[in-house]
């Protein structure tokens, strides 16, 4: 129990210390800030011990908020491990990395870390929603960190989409809890049984889709990743995007009764997002944007798994575990690639070591043999099994998945070309953390394989040397490399020099492609709201002025009073009343 409080409390305490230190100006505070910032990654240690030693019983803290409970099940533990590793490495990369206002960045990263732990390990709806919201809003602070014009625009778009996503998630959470799904363990059953099932699944799709970057809602991702400082974008891509996946795995009725309709929608959106992201990514010239598009395409891959789990209850458990393994693999590889961009451009590390590490990470992402990608992709293909995709003429999903590998190989080739051309100004040197980064990238295959091994019964583990699987995994990579080389020679021809397609500078398809359309739509909605409010105000204003303008009876009254006040008039009134009284006496007097 104390381990849990420490795991969540320590990062928050350090973050608070950093915040207070930044507020108080003065040399001593400056020194304190830097030392704490440098040692910030230690705050993740309690969580690390928790993952390794934590038991899997439900832990309850009743006094916190509306009763907080946490639980490390088979989905939570690996993702928690991923979160700890990534945040530790990211926090280590913040000091001496040239990022402006480092301590503030570390502070927000720590808060985000605590929230991510909460998301992954939550055992009831309220805790999950608490962690999810805190993570979203600290994400805003991370994206906004550099305060450049681009960062402000990215942050604004991120905030609008997050708020929309948040309200969808809030609605879904309320509906799930109302149908008895307060404890997450029985949430899927509650959702399956509730009569508002379709509404809940739709809200879950939209709410977590924003976070997981599914097709139309992915626009904020490329902008946010390019605007955020590199450690932050590593964490964004590695862990925060996975929160969407965790949301789906916890709440969607996977393994309950089949819902093929929703299954196909998920798969359709996933494929759409997956392949369009590759096309858009190829036309960029900023490595972080290309990697962001690669994340969108990989999240598409995961969405396919979720779609299949929805459509085929039988395959659900296998798909969930495959998704978890794949998520861990993608997290580690993508984070090392992002940090690699920072190592390449501003660390004093020999060129050949960085290239080899990046190459290994790239190949792993593409799923080449003997890498973590190989294990994860194989597991996923087996988990999907013979599920077919009715909408696309019944093509087996298993042979659609390798094309994702091809897409990511192309993207990585593009990224390599762009990175190669970027000149390196190595002014910082932090050998320890660079070593750790290199190790984590290269050795990633071992933990992923070990994890796959442990989840063996449903999770298929590839034979390392069996020729069949070797070829099935490597042909997309080889094809991708071949295509890349052909494109490269083609681009060198003179007449294509200035063609935007051959040497794209990110202007044909701006980062966040369809965002311009959605931005205009959002602005239009905002303007309409304001106009409606203003018109409402003027209508009530007009009603009020009309009411006030009604002629008040007072002047007429005082005129009557003036005339009535004269002596004769009041005398006449007196006489009239006396006469009326007597008349009444004479006539009505006798009535009972």
């Amino acid at each position: 129990m104390t381990l849990w409080v420490l795991a969540l409390g320590l990062p928050l305490a350090v973050a608070l210390l950093l915040m207070v230190a930044t507020l108080v100006s003065g040399p001593r505070a400056g020194a304190l800030r830097d030392t704490v910032c440098r040692a910030a990654w230690l705050a993740t240690l309690p969580a690390a011990t928790l993952t390794l030693t934590g038991g899997d019983e439900v832990v309850r803290l009743d006094w916190l908020l509306l009763g907080v409970s946490a639980h490390l099940d088979e989905v939570a533990r690996p993702l928690l491990a991923l979160t700890v590793v990534l945040y530790a490495v990211a926090l280590a990369f913040v000091p001496r990395s040239g990022a402006r206002r480092g301590p503030v960045l570390s502070g927000f990263l720590l808060v985000c870390f605590a929230a991510s732990v909460g998301v992954v390990a939550a055992a009831d709806v309220v805790t999950f929603y608490l962690a999810f919201t805190v993570m979203s809003f600290t994400g805003y602070a991370l994206v906004l960190h550099d305060r450049t014009a681009g960062a402000r625009r990215a942050a604004r778009i991120y905030m609008v989409m997050t708020v929309l996503g948040e309200s969808a998630v809030l609605a879904a959470m309320a509906l799930v809890t109302a149908d008895g799904g307060l404890v997450l363990a029985d949430a899927p059953a509650a959702v399956a049984a509730s009569e508002r099932r379709d509404l809940i699944v739709a809200l879950l799709l939209v709410g977590f889709g924003v976070k997981a970057g599914t097709a139309p809602l992915h626009v904020w991702l490329p902008l946010a990743h390019s605007a955020a400082p590199t450690p932050a974008s590593a964490v964004l891509s590695g862990v925060m995007v996975k929160a969407g996946l965790v949301g789906w795995l916890r709440f969607l009725p996977l393994g309950q009764d089949a819902s093929p309709g929703w299954g196909t929608t998920f798969v359709l959106l996933a494929l759409l997002g997956g392949f369009l992201a590759v096309v858009a990514g190829l036309l960029q010239d900023n490595p972080k944007v290309i990697l962001a598009y690669s994340t969108i395409s990989q999240m598409g891959f995961l969405a396919v798994l979720v779609g299949v789990a929805l459509a085929e209850p039988g395959l659900a458990h296998a798909c969930v575990l495959a998704a978890v393994v794949y998520a861990v693999h993608h997290g580690v590889t993508k984070a090392s690639l992002f940090l690699g961009v920072q190592v390449w451009s501003s660390e004093r590390v020999p060129r050949w070591t960085t290239t080899t590490v990046l190459a290994v990470a790239g190949l792993s992402l593409a799923g080449a043999p003997f890498t973590s990608g190989y294990v994860a992709k194989y597991g996923a293909k087996e988990a999907v099994g013979d599920a077919t995709f009715p909408a696309a003429g019944g093509a087996a999903l298993a042979d659609v998945l390798p094309w994702f590998g091809l897409g990511s190989t192309l993207l990585l080739a593009r990224c390599a070309v762009v990175l190669w051309r970027r000149e390196r100004k190595g002014e910082h040197s932090a050998p320890v953390r660079d070593g750790v980064w290199a190790a984590s990238a290269v050795v990633a295959v071992v933990p992923v394989a070990w994890l796959a091994q442990r989840l063996d019964p449903p999770q298929a583990v590839p034979g390392w040397l069996s020729p069949g699987t070797l070829w099935a995994q490597s042909w997309p990579v080889l094809l991708g490399v071949a295509l890349a080389l052909a494109a490269a020679r083609l681009a060198r021809r003179r007449e294509l020099d200035d063609s935007p397609l051959a040497h794209p500078r990110g202007d044909v398809v701006p980062p966040g492609d369809v965002v311009a359309v959605e931005e205009r739509a959002a602005l239009a909605v905002g303007r309409a709201l304001r106009r409606a409010a203003a018109r409402l105000g003027s209508v009530t204003g007009r009603v009020r002025t009309a009411l006030a303008a009604t002629p008040s009876p007072l002047p007429a009254l005082s005129a009557v009073q003036a005339r009535l006040g004269l002596w004769e008039a009041s005398g006449a009134v007196l006489l009239f009343l006396a006469a009326a009284g007597l008349l009444l006496a004479l006539t009505g007097g006798s009535s009972p």
């Binding site: 003036a562 006040g565 004269l566 002596w567 004769e568 005398g571 007196l574 006489l575 006396a578």
Partner: protein, 94 residues
């Protein structure tokens, strides 16, 4: 109509005439005089009532006497005020 009712009607008539004259007169002194006439009307009614029984009723007589005394006092006060009122138009309501 018996003699009693006739006289009662006479008293009321005098009262009404006095009141109407009082309320319509513009000159203040005429109003005071009219008021006395009205008061006389009421005294007549009272006196008529005093004569109903076999012998004259002392209580009604006492009422008439007191009424006359009061009316005299009021007339005195009214005339004093009339004298102080310089111009008659100032007492119209503004």
């Amino acid at each position: 109509m018996t003699r009693l009712e006739l006289l009662l009607a006479l008293g009321c008539a005098v009262l009404v005439v006095g009141l109407v004259a009082h309320l319509l007169a513009r000159d203040l002194v005429r109003r005071v005089v009219a008021l006395n006439v009205a008061s006389a009307g009421v005294m007549i009614v009272l006196l008529v009532l005093a004569t109903r029984g076999t012998e004259p009723d002392p209580v009604a007589q006492a009422l008439v006497l007191t009424g006359i005394v009061i009316m005299a006092a009021i007339t005195g006060l009214a005339l004093a005020l009339v004298r102080r009122v310089e111009a008659p138009e100032d007492e119209e309501a503004p």
